[in-house]
């Protein structure tokens, strides 16, 4: 099990130009000493992910989750969408979170499906809910909402009750059935 400092050192040795900006996770307001997230720019994402998976010192074989945070109206936030990748190394039993920020009007990220196949549906979910487009994804369709749905409902500016998507639906009456 590598400590966060060791992991960052390994990364820095390989990618000297990236700062990574490592920060500990906050748990109930306190810093969790052994768990960190690092920040990666979209253009370096796939490269860094490949390294994290293959380097013997990190070996993150498993992509636990891809999710996203909408920082609209968030105090002190600079970017709008933070896409978060949670990684787990089964070999070393350690974890890391990789965060990638994208912005309107066309939030775009390279897909990591070439690194972990399991990213397929997770990226589709982030696309469906937040409208972040994953370039290179072979089948980027909506996964939870239906095909005719237009909005991205987990964006903070989407109203809770929707924009009338339910209203023009077919009504089955006793005559029509």
């Amino acid at each position: 099990m590598a400590t966060p400092d060791e992991m960052v050192a390994v990364l820095k040795a390989k990618f000297s130009s990236i700062s990574f900006d490592p920060k500990p996770l906050l748990m109930r307001g306190e810093e969790a000493g052994d768990q960190i997230y690092i920040r990666v720019e979209p253009e370096n994402l796939v490269e860094v992910m490949h390294f994290l998976r293959d380097d013997p010192g990190t070996r993150f074989e498993q992509l636990i989750d891809v999710t996203c945070v909408d920082y609209l109206n968030f105090p002190e936030a600079e970017d709008r969408y933070g896409v978060v990748y949670s990684l787990l190394s089964i070999t070393h039993n350690h974890r890391i979170w990789v965060k990638c920020f994208v912005n309107d009007p066309s939030p775009k990220l390279p897909s990591v499906i070439g690194v972990w196949k399991g990213a397929d549906w997770m990226e589709r979910e982030v696309f469906d809910m937040f409208g972040v487009v994953f370039e290179g994804h072979p089948d980027l369709r909506r996964i939870l909402t239906w095909d005719g749905f237009e909005a991205h409902p987990l964006r903070k500016d989407y109203p809770l009750r929707g924009k009338g998507e339910r209203e023009n639906y077919e009504v089955v009456t006793r005559d029509s059935a």
Binding site: T145, W146, G162, Y169
Partner: protein
């Protein structure tokens, strides 16, 4: 031995026969098909959420929907005539539910079970249908979150009363949903279970 007040041997065989035939003929004339039908409802459990658990409890031995002749749950709409919509319905699920409803053969009835199926309940969001009756004709609404099995049985009995009244009509002839709300008729008696350990 003391003589019983009622002794069938005291009655002439003619009496017995006329009484019975009389009753039976008028009874069957009035009720025959509906009487049979109302005691053999075949529910289709469209259980999409927690209300489905209560629906299962209703069918289990403790509450025993079989007493009302509605215990044979069929998962094929072709084999059932009572759609029990138990639980919240996502808008993406609605076409499925509508199709199932269309596939049920006439005559057919619909129970909307629980707050969610009837009104959307606490799930007032873009994804959940705010009451299946917006898109389907509903006959009986069963209130509760979830309704107790007794309340659901009350709902089934409300359907039975409808069947008794107009079961031979197709749902087209019945027009809009009946819009009946089943009122719980039972009193909840909370009993202590203190003697458990001594048993």
């Amino acid at each position: 031995m003391e003589k019983h007040t009622y002794d069938p041997h005291d009655m002439s065989s003619e009496d017995l026969l006329t009484t019975r035939l009389d009753n039976l003929v008028s009874f069957f004339r009035k009720n025959s098909v509906n009487w049979a039908r109302k005691h053999s409802l075949w529910p289709l459990p469209f259980a999409t959420a927690c209300c489905g658990i209560e629906l299962m409890a209703t069918a289990s031995s403790r509450y025993d929907l079989a007493r009302f002749g509605a215990e044979v749950m069929r998962f094929s709409p072709r084999q059932s005539d009572l759609l029990i919509c138990a639980g919240r319905v996502a808008i993406k699920m609605m076409p499925v539910l509508q199709r199932i409803y269309k596939q049920i053969t006439e005559p057919k009835w619909v129970i909307s079970m629980g707050a969610c199926a009837s009104t959307g309940g606490v799930f007032d969001t873009y994804a959940v249908v705010q009451g299946v009756d917006q898109f389907l004709p509903v006959d009986v609404y069963v209130p509760g979150c979830p309704p107790r099995p007794e309340t659901l049985i009350e709902g089934v009995m409300a359907i039975q009363r409808q069947v008794d009244r107009d079961g031979l009509k197709t749902s087209q002839e019945r027009g809009k949903g009946l819009g009946i709300v089943a009122e719980p008729t039972y009193q909840v008696n909370v009993e202590a279970v203190a003697d458990r350990e001594t048993e």
